[in-house]
Amino acid sequence: MPTLGIDVAYVADLARLRLSPEEIETFGNQLEQVLAYVKKLEEVDIREIVLIGEEKGFQNRLRSDCPLPGLSQKEALQNAPQQASGLFLVPRILE
């Protein structure tokens, strides 16, 4: 299996996943297998393809600027792991 050299630790850090050394190793190998497999996409001629990202008739589906009902403060906070004085509490953010 060719080594593509994915920096699993870097990617895991971007994704905020804390992986064990064992997981870094296993996932690294599995990802390399998958990436070796997806290399076959290089066989496809993709020149001249412009991505448009929409179906016909699906353009400009915008909302008019009118208020709609939402959640009460209580509903908004109902799932908060930690809260106080109407705020979501999270570990301290360093500036």
Partner: protein, 480 residues
């Protein structure tokens, strides 16, 4: 006989004839669940009191009045958990209804419970669930397929009259095939995704899992149509999907893609599919070989597009606003890392890593962008093919249900099992799976009928013609 075994249509007749009361329906389903679900574990969550409560108030004049429906645990229902079979959503109670749930309520349906699935719909076997595996009703040592394995098993085992599932790369059709029921993946944009916890936003669709084609048409009719809350949902009203049921398919051209009958396909699956194709010929359809030349690239394209979208969609699960937060750490980065490490299962982590990598600096063009462009080629294949036929017939899955644990640590093998269903999602088409036979060992085999965008009527018409002239759908799994 218990009304748990009824289809929606049959049940509605009984209800309207006052042969049975909605509370009896719910009770008989609850009985059935308590007798078979310990073996299957199709449900994550049941709320019997609430189901009985709405049965009491059921309005039979509505199209689904008094009909209990099971919901895949990835669709938000106000006041209920929506765990996506993930620890990271432990304790979460949804404060709102998905659009499809609003529509089911408006149609009079009774929400019965929440079905098991692969965590965040990532998987093809319902083994990647934080709450344990669901088993195949036809063989308890086998998987029900996935990711809507709970919904498919519940319907096949008559623990539900019908269910909603979601299909990102085959997650409705493949479990329907493995469990021997009908599963319909609507055209992308046919059903609102508002309230469906996203896996891959450009591929996900909600659809019905039912005991009959007519039920699938009816259920789709109830949930489809424009929704101002979903930008990607079609701006038109949905037509009546039942309209063409019963119209004959004589003279219709059905395409059979030559790329779908190559190595790796199980001989019994191939034989059953070939037999179904001849059956269509007997019904007067014209069979034409077609080519979908980019078929072999669909899995590679899919796994890059889907995981990239998923890596962003799943970033919100971080223990800050809802769900589970790792305890005992004060540091922000450590809290993120540990929450997501403890909260996500291995397959989810694997896909987040792949998707993050495919988008990361220096790799975007080579992976994500290329995959999206190949996707255009795959779509073009189908557009060309549909110039020569009205629907395409293929096996749903290359094999029948496989054994539990068989593929869990070989992700690539697991991904390859989706070969026949994935291209449909990439191209945004509609497709359904219906039973077309059984293996010698008694496992169901599914037949896939693929239609052009917005042509659900056509594939339902074809499916109905097949179903009405065969009796595979009348068999029951040996659970008693």
């Amino acid at each position: 006989m218990s009304c748990a075994f009824s289809t929606i249509q049959e049940l509605r007749k009984q209800l309207l004839a006052k042969e049975v009361h909605p509370t009896e329906v719910v009770e008989s389903l609850l009985d059935r669940i308590s007798s078979v679900d310990p073996k299957l574990k199709a449900y994550n969550y049941l709320h019997p009191e609430r189901a009985l409560e709405s049965a009491k108030k059921a309005d039979l004049s509505l199209p689904l009045g008094g009909v209990p429906i099971a919901i895949k645990d990835v669709i938000n229902v106000r006041g209920e958990p929506c765990t996506c079979s993930s620890r990271i959503l432990e304790g979460y109670i949804a404060p709102y209804d998905a659009t499809v749930i609003e529509r089911l309520r408006a149609a009079g349906a009774i929400l019965l419970g929440r079905t098991n699935m692969d965590e965040f719909a990532m998987g093809s076997s319902t083994e990647n669930s934080a709450w344990g595996v669901t088993r195949n009703p036809w063989d308890l040592s086998r998987v029900p397929g996935g990711s809507s394995g709970g919904s498919a098993a519940a319907v096949a085992a008559h623990e539900a009259i019908a269910a909603l599932g979601t299909d990102t790369g085959g997650s409705i059709r493949q479990p329907a095939a493995f469990c021997g029921c009908v599963g319909l993946k609507p055209t992308y944009g046919r059903v609102s995704r508002y309230g469906l916890t996203a896996f891959a936003s450009s591929l996900d669709q909600i659809g019905p899992l039912t005991k009959s084609i007519a039920d699938a048409a009816l259920l789709l009719e109830m949930i489809a149509g424009q929704d101002p809350r979903d930008n990607t949902c079609a701006p038109e009203h949905a037509p009546s999907f039942s309209k063409k049921l019963g119209e004959e398919i004589r003279g219709m051209t059905l395409g059979v893609p030559k790329e779908y009958f190559v190595s790796g396909i199980d001989p019994e699956v191939e034989a059953a599919t070939r037999k179904a194709i001849s059956h269509f010929e007997e019904l007067g359809a014209i069979i034409r070989e077609i080519s979908l030349p980019h078929t072999s690239y669909s899995i590679a394209s899919y796994y890059l597009v889907a995981t990239a979208e998923a890596s962003a969609n799943l970033a919100r699960f971080d223990g800050m606003r809802y769900g589970r937060r790792a305890s005992g750490c004060d540091d922000l980065l450590e809290t993120y890392g540990r929450t997501r490490d403890e909260g996500f299962g291995r397959e989810v982590k694997r896909r987040i890593l792949l998707g993050t990598y495919a988008l990361s600096s220096g790799y975007y063009d080579a992976y994500y962008l290329r995959a999206q462009k190949v996707r255009v080629r795959i779509r073009e294949d189908f557009l060309a093919a549909f110039r020569d036929c009205q629907a395409i017939v293929t096996p749903t899955s290359p094999t029948p249900a496989f054994c539990l644990g068989e593929r869990t640590e070989d992700p690539l093998q697991m991904y390859l099992a989706d070969i026949f269903t994935i291209a449909v999602n990439l191209a945004g088409l509609c497709a359904l799976s219906l039973p077309c036979g059984f293996t010698r060992s008694g496992l169901p085999i599914g037949l896939q009928i693929i239609g052009p965008m917005w042509k659900e009527e056509t594939i339902l018409q074809v499916g109905y013609a097949y179903e009405q002239s065969t009796d595979w759908h009348t068999r029951r799994p040996p659970l008693e």
